[in-house]
């Protein structure tokens, strides 16, 4: 970037006075550097959303109109798919964060050497969703390893007596797989938050006579609350519209949102596409509003935003 002499002279003066202070020349608005990324991100998101919305009104097709939106509201499959996706997402995110709290506390209490060994939990974060789905089949199917162990130990007479986690849309299997994949992520975030908790708070409370339960309820849980909210929201939103695991583990009826939309978009004739696009637009708006409500507004926004950044809570 070329600079004129006058601002350069001013900058040299500024550098002499305060060499690492604010740059005194050629300054744009402080937030200008974010513009290319904002344009890229908002541009793709908005254009992608508008393209889906146009599809939902059948624009460019043989019979444009708003019929798909009416069908969407009246169709049972819409509510079945949305309800099933929400139930799977809620169950997997709640179970993951609930399991992650004691696990993160245990990890936090380990001495440094043992904590390094315990770092093996992070391998599940690296495994791709497809491989996690495959593991779920190996472990949890009725003829899988857990079923085999139960039958060979004589605890159940045969695999027919075992519950089938892949029945009824595969909901239990999908939840189990997401819990395996998401719990280590939640542990990672909660452990980072716990490292920011001043140990003197708990120690003083114990000296004042508080038992472990009271310390947990009064100090640890309130400290973790913003991170817990953020992690639960991240996991819920991600799972709500996921494709990979439902594709490997789902049985199709009811189908999760991503699978339902994919089927109607690509595996049926063009007349099914507007309804799929209307469902997708609805899910997109709901997800966007929910995500923005959690991370873009509210009193503890900075704490939840810190969790979204991958940092421990600001209040820590």
């Amino acid at each position: 970037m070329e600079r004129s002499e006058a601002p350069r002279a001013e900058s040299v003066t500024a550098a002499t006075r305060q060499p690492c202070g604010p740059v005194r020349f050629g300054t744009a608005h402080p937030a200008a550097g974010a513009a290319p990324l904002a344009l890229f991100s908002a541009g793709l998101l908005a254009a992608g959303f508008l393209a889906t919305l146009a599809d939902s009104f059948g624009l460019g097709g043989p019979s444009p109109g708003a019929a798909a939106w009416g069908d969407l509201v009246r169709s049972a499959w819409t509510w079945r798919s949305l309800g099933f996706s929400a139930a799977v997402a809620a169950a997997s995110s709640l179970v993951s964060v609930t399991l992650a709290v004691p696990l993160a506390l245990f990890l936090h209490g380990l001495p440094r050497g043992q904590a390094s060994l315990a770092g093996i939990y992070k391998t599940a974060v690296v495994l791709p969703h497809l491989a996690v789905g495959y593991l779920a089949v190996l472990l949890f199917s009725r003829t899988g390893l857990i079923g085999a162990a139960l039958v060979s130990a004589g605890l159940v007479p045969g695999f027919e007596a075992l519950p089938d986690p892949f029945a009824g849309g595969g909901g239990p299997a999908i939840v189990l797989a997401y819990v395996f994949k998401e719990t280590p992520y939640a542990v990672l975030m909660l452990h980072a938050s716990l490292r920011k908790l001043d140990p003197r708070l708990a120690e003083t409370a114990r000296m004042l006579g508080a038992d472990r339960g009271a310390v947990f309820r009064g100090i640890v849980l309130p400290h973790l609350a913003p991170t817990l909210t953020a992690v639960a929201a991240i996991l819920f939103l991600y799972t709500f519209g996921a494709f990979d695991l439902p594709w490997v583990l789902g049985s199709g009826d009811p189908a999760m949102l991503g699978i339902e939309v994919y089927g109607r978009y690509f595996l049926r004739d063009l007349s099914a596409r507007p309804r799929a696009a209307a469902l997708l637009s609805t899910a997109g708006i709901l997800s966007f509003l929910a995500a923005f409500a959690v991370f873009g507004a509210g009193r503890s926004r900075e704490d939840r935003l810190a969790a979204l950044r991958g940092e421990p809570g600001a209040s820590g």
């Binding site: 040299v12 550098a15 740059v23 990324l37 391998t123 599940a124 190996l138 001043d198 140990p199 923005f292």
Partner: protein, 292 residues
């Protein structure tokens, strides 16, 4: 700030305080920790052990907990498929690296600006920029694909790179924001005030200082791209090779050994890559006399 207290004062204070009020440090607590750790390792290592056992399984009739016979068949097949594996790995690595580089080029100035301008009013902008990390991929992927098709980019490498950049840049951005908060923006300001141009400032000062944050965010972003199946499948239209695309039919088949062997291979490669990256960073910082 509390950070100071918890990092230094808290750690120093901890020992007498904890010993005064809890049983930590007693033999019983140490034993229960050791048992807990053993259970922990068992629970988290078990799935990997299952994959390892399944990859060497020959005949494995139900309800046997371990295979009846052992075999190298899956690994021999993997060795014989080396050219196909190498091609899909090369493609996955190339589009993932391209997405990480594009994401870094966009995120570096954005992170600097967000930290530099600070303040609560930028929280909404930051939240908006980080949103792709939490939006369900299906909610934007079909629209993006329509957009790429309309722009003549359907089923192409650039479409895959753009879609993956969109999905993965928040991981880079958040690491760089944390990095800038840690190191401050003064190094760059100092270089500019000393007369360095913007390109030289980025290459000689900002990027080396932020290398740990770039490596951390870049690793996660790379992993997101490398592990992705859906976005590559949708925007690449089957014409862009990927390791997940190669893996998918084996995972869907009834041959457990092949799926297990390829899953382990998939896990080993990014872990090896991260090891190499960490060694490179350590060597780089040692050579330049910087704290890593």
């Amino acid at each position: 700030m509390r950070r100071r207290g918890s990092r230094t004062g808290g750690a120093e204070y901890r020992r007498p305080g904890v010993r005064a009020v809890s049983e930590a440090g007693t033999k019983g607590a140490a034993l229960s920790r050791a048992v807990g750790l053993a259970l922990w390792v068992l629970v988290f290592a078990l799935p990997l052990a299952v994959l390892g056992i399944a990859s060497f399984a020959g005949r494995w009739p139900f309800p046997r907990v371990l295979p009846a016979t052992w075999s190298f068949r899956a690994w021999a097949y993997a060795a014989s498929s080396a050219p196909r594996i190498a091609a899909s790995l090369a493609s996955s690595t190339a589009y993932s690296l391209a997405a990480v580089l594009l994401g870094a080029a966009l995120s570096l100035p954005a992170a600097r600006s967000l930290v530099r301008s600070g303040g609560a009013r930028n929280g909404s902008l930051e939240a908006l920029l980080l949103l792709p990390a939490v939006l369900p991929p299906a909610s934007y992927a079909f629209g993006l694909n329509r957009l790429f098709l309309a722009a003549g980019l359907g089923s192409s490498w650039p479409a895959v790179v753009m879609a993956l950049t969109f999905a993965s840049y928040p991981y880079l951005l958040r690491a760089l924001i944390s990095g800038y908060r840690h190191t401050g923006t003064a190094f760059g300001d100092c270089a500019r005030n000393l007369g360095a141009g913007p390109v030289r400032t980025w290459l000689a000062v900002e990027i080396p200082v932020l290398l740990p944050a770039l490596a951390a965010g870049g690793s996660v972003a790379f992993l997101v791209c490398f592990s992705d199946y859906f976005l590559v499948f949708l925007t690449g239209g089957g014409r862009v090779d990927s390791f997940t695309g190669f893996l998918a039919p084996f995972l869907a088949s009834s041959d457990r050994s092949l799926g297990a062997a390829f899953s382990l291979l998939f896990l080993a490669l990014p872990l090896a890559g991260f090891g190499v990256l960490e060694a490179f960073l350590r060597a780089f910082h040692t050579r330049r006399g910087m704290d890593s």
